[in-house]
């Protein structure tokens, strides 16, 4: 395999592949708490959910851990906008669902349980005194006949 011919320079396939393996592990490891955050995101009573995607990452980047700002996330036909206001160690969350509807909204924060409310006819909702931390948002859509739950990945707010 090695036709390099440089004495003492025999990089075997295994050596190269092992080196690339260490490259991945040492230079770019997943964040320490990522596994825990995934496990938190999955700790839902019912996993029959649709997964929303965070959008507008430029603004989100500023929000992460920063305390105040607007986040948007979407899943197929639903858009949820969240505005965060930091009040001491807590957050006030102002949200808006599009299309509007009186849907149930839950905010789960790791180690702090769940706050929930229902959006008004205009799709607006407010949650006060939400603890900061690893946060996941759930929206319960539809009626009894066709119930859907949309969840977001967790984000540290």
């Amino acid at each position: 395999m090695n036709d390099l011919g440089a004495p003492g320079e025999a990089f075997s396939d295994e050596m190269i592949l092992a080196g690339i393996g260490r490259f991945l592990d040492e230079l770019d490891p997943p964040p320490d708490d990522l596994v825990q955050r995934v496990q938190f995101a999955l700790a839902l009573e019912d996993l029959d959910v649709e997964v929303a995607r965070w959008e507008r990452l430029d603004t989100l980047a500023g929000v992460r851990g920063g305390g105040t700002g607007t986040i948007t996330f979407t899943v197929s036909d639903l858009t949820v906008m969240i505005n965060l206001t930091k009040i001491g160690k807590l957050h006030r969350i102002d949200g808006w669902l599009v299309p509007a509807g009186q849907y149930g909204v839950e905010v789960r924060v790791a180690e702090h349980g769940t706050s929930s409310t229902t959006a008004d006819e205009g799709g607006r909702f407010v949650l006060d005194n939400v603890p900061r931390g690893t946060t996941q948002i759930l929206v319960h859509l539809g009626d009894v006949s066709c119930r859907r739950t949309v969840v977001t990945p967790t984000v540290v707010l």
């Binding site: 592949l17 991945l24 997943p30 995101a41 999955l42 700790a43 996993l47």
Partner: protein
Amino acid sequence: MTDVQTTEVDPPWEGLTGAELHAACMQAAREGDRRAMDRLVAELTPLVWHVARANGLDRSVAEDVVQTVWLALFSQLGKLRDPKALAAWLITTTRREATHPFGRRMQPVPLSDEVAEAMPSTQPAPEDEAVRADRDRRVWRAFVRLPHRCQDLLRLTVLAGRAEYQLVAETLRMPRGSVGPTRGRCLDQMRDLLASEGGTR
């Protein structure tokens, strides 16, 4: 939210590794065992992470994608019949998420020379450890100079090898028979780069 398990017996996947571990965990997860899900997440999150990063996502976007992929898996666990297909499913889904049309495609993966150079010169270590670290740095410098396709192939070879699946061909959409020869050419190219870099030590 976590159900207390009735007994503290060892889970059925205890002592298993690789594909067998995944299969046992998938089976238990389908029956609602949350510990099995947690175990799979702990086991395979590095794979999902590196695939997301290899597709050019920055770290914070990669974090979201990793979670999205896992949520997607467990919300449709019943559809994935063959546990052997798990790693392939994770890789394919991650790649699809990474290029999702929400305009999330970022700059090419920032694995540059500077990154390789910035690798902390390993802590005081035995002689052979230092030799290995030096050799690794040379390998990394060569690796980042490879064409993207080769980087992808070799990275997946390493990651798939860990997951004990022959799925490089599938995920790179290459004919199975051409993976070996292409990999060989990529490795030879690595050796050329290593040689041209000089510094025979």
